[in-house]
Structure formats: C-alpha cells, structure tokens
Symmetry: C2
Subunit: 443 residues, 2 copies
C-alpha cells in the first residue's frame, strides 16, 4: 500500500535544490518538526494570507484554492471570524457548566439529521470523532471487528490509524480490521457497484466472525475521498449497510470530508445514498477552521459506552466552538452555498469532461457538488493509473497558481474540493490552467 | 475504582428538584447530549461571561474561579483574543503549507525544553498528544506495556482511555497496562516516596516483561492531578524514571495539567523533579482555551514512528494556533504569571494551613505554584478520606460563589488551580469562604 498522505508531498531530499527564503524555511521546518513535517509540492509554498477561494504567498502572488475543504465557507470569512472573536471576548469554557449557545447550536445541528439520531457529543477534531465512534460501536455491539475501504483515511489517533490503510507505509492491518475495495465507479459497471460492495462486506463480516472478532462497524467516508472520490450511482451503499446490520454491526458515516453541504444536494453525504447511519462523525469544515468535531448517534448507543467509561472533551462544545459552528450554518444558508456547490460543481465537471476528448489522460471526471476528482490514466482503454503524470499536473498547476491535490491508492486522482464560495469564474480560471498545463506537458 | 470524572458531578436523577430556567436547561442538555452530558455541582451553574479569575452567571452574579486551568492566563484575556482574532482574519490553514508564525512559535517553545528534546509535533488536544506519545513509545521501544498511576487521567481517545484508570467505571485495565500507586505524600514518609515509586515501577516492568509486553513507557502527569495532586519532595520521580529506562521503556511527562508555568518555579512540572523526559505532552492551557496541544521529543523517537505510519493533524500548528500559543507565552512573560503563581500559591497554602488546627477535617494542604489541593479526612490521625464532606464543601462554596473541584481516587481532595492571574485578594476571598463553609457545615 502506497502512503496516501505523502501524495503530492515535498521530498525532503530535494531541499538542496531550493534557494533563498524558501530553502531556509524548509530547513527550519525540518529542524523543528522532524519526521512529522509534511509539505505539499516539489516546491513548497509559503502562504501568508487567504480570503474567499484565494490564497496569497509571501510575495503577494495570488493562488486559486481548488483544494481546501476546511475553510469551507471561504478562507477567513468575516462573519465567522467576527462570531468567534465576539464569543472569545465573552466566555470560552468547557461544557461542565451550562451555556445556552451550545444548546442552540446542538439543537439546530441535530434537526438536520434523520429521526432517531438525536444525541450529539462534541469533540475537537474529526480524528477524535472517529475514535469515539469506534468505541461506541464496540461497546454497543460487543464486537471488535471493523470493515473499511482499501485506501481509507479516518484520522490520526492510535485506534483510528488502524482503520486508515492510507496511513500505513507497511500495508499491515490490525487483526480486527478487514479491508474492502472502494466502489470504483470508473472500472466497475454502475449496476454492479452496490452488489459487489455488499458482497465484499459480507465476506469480510464472515471472516471477522470466524476469527472471533465479530462485526462492530462498517466505517465509510461518505464520498470515499482518499480512495479516489466515488459518488455515483446514488444508493450504492444500501446493500452493504444491510449486510453489515445482518451481522450485528453498525454503520458509521464519516462526514468529516464531505459534510456540511459540500456534495450540493444534501447537507450530509450519506443522504445521497438513502441510508440512515447508526453513527455520524463530523470534523474539518464544522467551524471553518476553528477546531471542532462531533458525533451524532442514537441515545442507546451513546449510553452503552457511558455506562462503562466516562467521556469528557475539554475543548468540545465550548461557547466559542458553538459560536463558530452556528456562524458556519448561518453562512451556508445566507449565501446559499449548498446550491452554489451543486451548480458550480456541475459546471466544473461539465468543463472538465469537455477536455477529455482532447486529453485522453483525463480518464474520468466524477464527484458530487464541490467534491470532485479527475482520474489520470495512461490511456482511456486500459485505464492504467498514471501517478507520475498526475503529480506533474499538480505541480505544474501550482506554478500556474492553481492549487489542487491528489487522491486514490495510486495517487493518480486529481482532487478538487475548493471552498464552497467557488464561482463559475473560478472554474474558468481552473479549466484554462488545466488546459495550459496539459498542453505544456504534452509538448 | 470510583470514576474520577463524575467527582463533583451533577446527578441527573436530581433534575426534578431543579426549578425554572435551570431545570429547562438541564433537561435540554440531557436531551441533546444524552449520556455524555457531565455537569458540575448539585445545582448546575449556567455561566455567561468570564474575565480574569472571575466568572458570571445568567443573573450577573460574580463567581471566583479557583478551578479552571485552561484559561490559564485569565478568562478571555484581551491580548490573547486579539492575537487570535487578528490571525483568523489573515490566514488559518494547515501545516502542509509553510508559515513563519508556526516556525517562530515552535522555536520559542522548544527553547524552553532541555537539550535533545528538539522536535515538536503540534496536535489539537492533550488527548491527541498523549495518544501520539503512546504510539511513539511503542514504535521506538518495540514494546507495548505502559505503566501509569492508579487514578491517572490522560485523556479521552480509545488508547489513552486504556491508560486512564480514572475513566473506568469497571476497574478493569487493558492487559498491557500496569498500575502503580501515586506518590501519596500525605501517607508515605517523604524519604520513602521515591524509592517506593521506583520499586512499584520495577515490579510492574518485570510483570509486563513476563507477560510478553515489555515496557514502552512510564506515563506520568507531572503533578499527579487526578490522583490527588502530589508535588513534594522534589525529585521523587528520579528513581522511577531510572527503573523505567533500565527495562527499556521511555518516560513520558504529561504536562497537560501543570505545564506553562503553573507550578511557579519552572515552566514544566518535570523540571521540579530534576528529570529529563523522553517525550513531553502538552494541551489545556497552551492556547488559553484555543484548542491546541503538542508533543516534544527527540528526533530519533519521532522518526521511528513516521518511518512506518504517516502523521498529520489538520488543526495542529495552524497560523491561528501558533498566534494563540505565542500570545500565551507573551502574557506569561509580560505579566510575570509564573512568579505570580509561585508567590500567590505560597500565600494560598500558608492561609489554608492556618485553618487546619481549627478544622481538623483539612488533613493536608499541598501543591506547587497554583496547582494545589486540600485533602479532606475524617480526622488527621486516621487520615481516612471523607468524600461526602469534600462534596459538601465544594457545593457549599459554589453557593458562596467560589468555584473549586475534586480530585483523588476517593474524591476527597479539594482541587484548587485558578487562572494564573489569581491575586492575594482572591486568596483572601477564598479563605474567608472556606472558613464560612466549614463553620456552617460544623453547625
């Protein structure tokens, strides 16, 4: 298994090729963070400011951000930063005291979920959310096995790393983890995607039972981000979720990547597939960069854990987190960002598809709303992944001041998930740059 | 094992005794957060504002905060909130781009550590920091056993909960965990504390080896907060750390509770004991409430993990986190808060000791700087813990608008760790209230 996290990563051995301030910064950084330093691009980027969907480097050069989904309603959104600043000046304390702001936010957030998913636990990160969700599933089911996708990434804690094949450089999984192939809509016919995923889950579940672990959960990023972004056909999760439940397991929808309206048609990615999860986890865009995460589940699932173990999160659900979360929901509504994601996302995919005939390396364009991917291949017949070309495209676009990323087990998938305030004009800039890049690389 | 986290907790079964808005809020909260709702006090407190060491409820009543160590340089400190607000308006992005603010903060922070501890990994919470530290220790040593204190609390992830006996309601530890008794300076003679702790660690280490786990780490909160706060004699950790290392384990100093100057004499609690950890973890006060944490270690320990597993933290080390952390270090220095903690802490302990003769239930007064404890006992001869009396004191003080907490495996230890801007005048208010409370309870 290739390590997804190093996709589009700067290779520290190339540091001697850098010059000036950049070289100094990269060396400082290596000195400081050591082996935990991960930087993007062959030539790393120093960013000093950002607003909306634009970022600026130290020399004031402007970049179009087609990558970052944490500042989801736009970098440094003034409404959100003002709400956070206001509350920081008033009160910022943990939830062992009562505070109405947390109640108002919690109630508003829970209203967006299907009936039954009525308890909210606020955490600080998506990793903490998935870590907590795994514990809930284990306590509630009494089982320990977990089924995940082959190049899934669910976060960075000890437990969550074990269910994140993307983080492993050795390819070895924990005994209680079974890996199924992600629903590769580019290579598997649409009608077979759901049944095939269900069959893989069924086999994994039986194997977990045979080894005495049983099935606690089928854990899925609702848009399969690090697996390569798979969004269609809608509904392909239904049978796999049913198989999970037949074996006594819970279905956990990880909405850290695609939640909060990014997929355009619904606030939550799982809704596109017509399934109701037992547990939903949230993170990244929840506070537009203010660190917060959350877990929504049924009361009986939450109490099954809390009967045995105390759970408290110092930074989770503070008045400031509640204010940040509330401001994000306000902006999503006020600026119609979910609809914008739907419309601009469609325009983006349409534009990219228009380039496919001219550039056969663009094998597939897919996604939902503003979570999109372009699969780069050797040719559209063999569909053989072309990770080197994908890397060249990403780095060339960076030189053209357009920022995108990579995904997929081979790293050959271009990942496009800009802030939700992305416009058609931004799409036109992106399409122009992609065209220039592909022409340049072909020359 | 009693559950520490429920110490001073509101009992939901008492909700029907509440009236008016408070009852509504408590019921809303239960509806919303379900079993994960933890509230303080027999009569929970709705807090709406806080500044310095003072908190205010919905009716504008003022409370003296003698408990909260997260808003460590003072609730809603204007210098810190301004620094965060300024940076939030400029840029808030993850560390895969370069940003000088993170370098400046990291370099300044690392300068406060002993030579060799030269790599910093920024996380989002103390829990994430301890979770990461456990993984580092396991990868570097190749062992899996961990030694912790009997009522330790190190955080809320799956892995960290296993080394947090305080969180267990069942008293069952994981197979790879060994528990040693905390250095109870109230009941064990000073000269025996160090040797006894070392002997317990030695026995635990041998047992972990015998069971095939080996020793990866001895993990200690440098002031033993949830175990009951033990600070003296300085140096009692030296022999236990040596024993750990003889068995190939690392020493992890958890500074989440007592770091950033709280103990008065040093920035870090482990420095009081003249030991150099292999790994140091930070959290709570690091951003004065802005969610951030960190792990400091030697480069070879960090790289041992990163060779096998990728680590990246979305919210860790952002420009906003760096600005928050930097502002906290600025205020600590500008306002001389470490010296203040030393002086006011000494004044506080002296005042409390003055009450011991009159109120024999105050069995022991201990601590360092502004991390302090009063052990409440049946009588000073038997030293039998008196948790009910401690609970009555805490709740009576709350009615007198003085906020403290509980600690210790029995919950009979009063925990006093106010914001570091606490003054002698605040101490006088606290001492007056404690006197009134004890007189009232005796009547």
């Amino acid at each position: 298994m290739q390590q997804i996290l190093t996709l589009n990563a700067f290779d520290p051995h190339g540091a001697s090729d850098l010059r000036g301030t950049l070289r100094t910064l990269v060396e400082q950084r290596k000195q400081l963070m050591g082996a935990s330093s991960v930087l993007f691009y062959d030539t790393p980027l120093e960013i000093t400011a950002a607003h909306g969907a634009l970022m600026y480097d130290a020399e004031g050069r402007e970049y179009l951000d087609c990558y970052n989904n944490v500042p989801s309603v736009g970098h440094c959104h003034p409404y959100v930063t003002a709400a956070i600043a206001r509350q920081m000046g008033q009160l910022n304390i943990h939830t062992r005291y009562l505070h109405q702001g947390m109640h108002e936010y919690g109630e508003r957030l829970l209203k967006t979920f299907p009936d039954g998913l009525s308890n909210l636990t606020l955490t600080c990160t998506g990793s903490e959310s998935n870590d907590f969700a795994l514990r809930l599933a284990k306590h509630f089911t009494g089982n320990s096995g977990v089924i995940v996708c082959g190049a899934a990434y669910h976060g960075n804690t000890a437990a969550v790393t074990e269910v994140s094949p993307a983080s492993s450089k050795t390819g070895v999984s924990a005994a209680w983890v079974r890996v199924v192939q992600a629903p590769d809509s580019y290579r598997i016919p649409p009608a077979m995607l759901g049944p095939r995923l269900a069959e893989e889950v069924e086999i994994a579940a039986r194997d977990l039972k045979r080894h005495g672990f049983g099935v606690s959960a089928f854990l899925v990023d609702s848009i399969f981000s690090s697996d390569g972004v798979y969004a269609h056909p809608e509904g392909f999760l239904i049978d796999a979720v049913a198989a999970t439940r037949r074996h006594g397991g819970l279905f956990i929808a990880d909405e850290v990547q695609c939640g909060f309206g990014r997929t355009g048609s619904h606030l939550w990615g799982f809704q596109r597939h017509g399934v109701v999860p037992d547990i939903v986890t949230m993170g990244k865009p929840m506070g537009n960069g203010y660190p917060m995460g959350g877990v929504v589940t049924r009361p009986e699932i939450l109490s099954s854990l809390c009967e045995n173990v105390g759970y408290f999160n110092t930074f989770g659900g503070t008045p400031v987190a509640a204010a940040a979360g509330m401001a994000v929901l306000d902006v999503l509504k006020q600026e119609g960002l979910m609809d914008n994601a739907a419309g601009v996302g469609e325009y983006l995919r349409s534009g990219l598809r228009g380039l496919m005939a001219r550039f056969p390396a663009l094998g597939d364009v897919r996604g939902a709303g503003l979570y999109n991917a372009v699969e780069v291949v050797a040719d559209p017949i063999s569909k053989v992944p072309a990770p080197k070309l994908a890397k060249a495209i990403i780095n060339d676009l960076r030189q053209r001041r357009v920022l995108i990323g990579a995904a997929g087990p081979q790293g050959n998938v271009l990942k496009l998930r800009p802030p939700l305030c992305f416009t058609r004009e931004h799409v036109d800039v992106l399409l122009r740059a992609v065209t220039d890049t592909l022409e340049g690389l072909a020359a």
